[in-house]
């Protein structure tokens, strides 16, 4: 237990330093700051415009009303903004780090390799996506006259944390494959597309292949479960299953990374 607290303290200190360094980098490259803000605004508005257009000629999809679908769009921006802000840049560099043998340097450092691979870069500009998501969600909830109590809000925040954990673990599981296939530098691009699965109700995937459904199941719940919480429609069983799924996926993804490292042969391999 003492070792655990010591490690937590150590990693908190390192992460605080990373937060500061990344903030300094954000201010140093101002053109990139402006450019990234524009790009993230475009994608945040795309998610909302997409749902508005998709629901313009139909009032219900699998029993979900237009407003409920718009909540999913707002929620998608909120949850993915956290994931993109804290982890996506690290995942983007995964294949080049492995392909060019830079993982050697990471493995020799006295810090966990998974932590260094995924948590080193923080992209603050994704905050704009968070602002869009929160603003839009608040607007839709207001029009639906949904009252969010502090307890519901607390539950929602907890579920958002586990949602991010599920997305992180799913990406980690897939990106770890680059140890065996380092040239697949566009695997992260594929995952960005696959993320889209989460912004639609789970019910739409019921007709899809069972294997595909099992594989993509984690992503189909990451937005829907917190959305149900904010609409006060979530069941206790759903929450327990959701948290268990998050923890299990995290453990599996971590073990898979450690297993995959045995096959890493560096740039010369």
């Amino acid at each position: 237990m003492e070792i655990f607290f010591k490690k937590t303290k150590h990693y908190t200190k390192v992460y605080k330093m990373l937060l500061r360094l990344n903030f300094a980098r954000l201010l140093a490259y101002r053109a990139d700051l402006v450019n990234s803000t524009i790009a993230h605004t475009i994608w945040a508005s795309f998610t909302i415009v997409q749902m508005l257009l998709l629901t313009s000629k139909t009032s219900h999809i699998f029993g979900w009303s237009r407003n409920e679908l718009l909540i999913l769009a707002g929620m998608y921006n909120i949850i993915y903004s956290f994931f993109y802000m804290f982890f996506s840049r690290g995942f983007n560099q995964f294949s080049t780090t492995i392909n060019f043998g830079r993982l050697d340097g990471i493995l020799t450092k006295p810090i966990d390799s998974q932590f260094l691979m995924t948590c080193l870069n923080i992209t603050y500009t994704h905050l704009i996506r968070l602002i869009w998501g929160v603003g839009f969600l608040a607007y839709v909830l207001f029009t639906m006259r949904v009252i969010v109590t502090p307890l519901v809000l607390l539950g929602f925040i907890v579920l958002v944390v586990f949602s991010v954990m599920i997305i992180y673990s799913f990406w980690m599981l897939i990106m770890t494959l680059t140890i065996w296939f380092p040239k697949l530098s566009n695997l992260a691009d594929l995952l960005y597309q696959i993320n889209q699965i989460s912004k639609f109700p789970q019910e739409i995937y019921k007709g899809a292949s069972l294997y595909l459904l099992i594989l993509l199941f984690p992503l189909t719940v990451v937005i829907v479960t917190p959305a149900k919480e904010i609409l006060q429609k979530v069941l206790v069983g759903d929450v327990i299953g959701f948290i268990a799924c998050a923890l299990m996926l995290f453990i599996v993804s971590r073990r898979f990374w450690r297993f995959a490292l045995r096959f890493y042969t560096s740039a010369s391999g």
Partner: protein
């Protein structure tokens, strides 16, 4: 002969990249597949049956794989911003045609994957696809698809060479991608848009990249409408060509590269 050698070289280069090409292909099929599942839960859409919607998206996957060019990032970032263009300018061969043949190789390879997917779907679900049956319509649809490819190529070249003036191009590229996804018919058939928006979008060049080629192959257009589509495609192609030539002439004067 020289052109053929260059085309073959480009093919060789592209085939080396086949695993990545497969991932790019997968990337293009995700949105249409989600959309097929999405519309299954929708209440009745006037003028479209469930099978027609599925057929639309599956054809959109193939048309997108064959027609939609993606060279803008390479042109803008690697060639113009990082200076790769310098080596091409010294060669006795047009940069434009080199990029064109490279993109053609990518499109043909992705098109083969798309056609394989089509064969699999037609084999498993023969009643699902609505194809044009008349040879006239099919012939005009092929011409429309070829002109659509030329249109997307020139359009993406214009976006790419904006890098002559922009120090950061990501915003422009992302904005273009979003507009293409929404207005080209990849997200949904334009007929599903609110009618005022459909009227505007059907006059824009994006609609001629995916939407009109797809509904042409589906047999949803009469011969007269097909000619109208072709006319509009040539109109936008002409405009884009003029813009490209003007921008290239001005941009090349802006271009500087340094080395040791």
């Amino acid at each position: 002969m020289r052109n053929l050698k260059i085309i073959l070289l480009q093919f060789q280069e592209v085939i080396e990249d086949r695993s990545r090409i497969f991932v790019w292909f997968l990337l293009g099929i995700i949105t249409p597949l989600i959309m097929i599942l999405f519309w299954r839960g929708a209440s009745h859409i006037p003028g479209w049956t469930s099978n027609e919607i599925t057929s639309y998206y599956l054809l959109a996957i193939i048309i997108n794989a064959i027609i939609m060019c993606h060279q803008e990032e390479h042109v803008g970032t690697i060639d113009i911003q990082e200076g790769g263009l310098s080596s091409y300018l010294l060669k006795p061969f047009s940069y434009f045609w080199l990029i064109f043949f490279n993109e053609l190789a990518y499109r043909l390879l992705q098109g083969i994957l798309g056609i394989l997917l089509l064969v699999v779907f037609v084999g498993f679900f023969p009643g699902l696809f609505a194809f044009a049956k008349s040879p006239d319509v099919l012939f005009l649809s092929v011409i429309i698809a070829i002109v659509a490819f030329l249109l997307t190529f020139i359009f993406k070249m214009i976006i790419g060479i904006l890098a002559f003036w922009l120090t950061e191009t990501r915003g422009a590229f992302e904005a273009t991608n979003v507009m293409i996804v929404i207005f080209s018919g990849l997200l949904m058939p334009l007929a599903f848009l609110p009618s005022w928006l459909e009227q505007i979008v059907s006059k824009m060049p994006f609609a001629y990249m995916i939407y009109f080629p797809v509904i042409a192959f589906e047999g949803k257009l009469t011969v007269l409408e097909l000619w109208q589509v072709l006319f509009m495609e040539f109109f936008w192609l002409g405009i884009c060509l003029l813009i490209y030539k003007k921008l290239w002439q001005e941009g090349i004067k802006q271009y500087t590269a340094v080395g040791q």
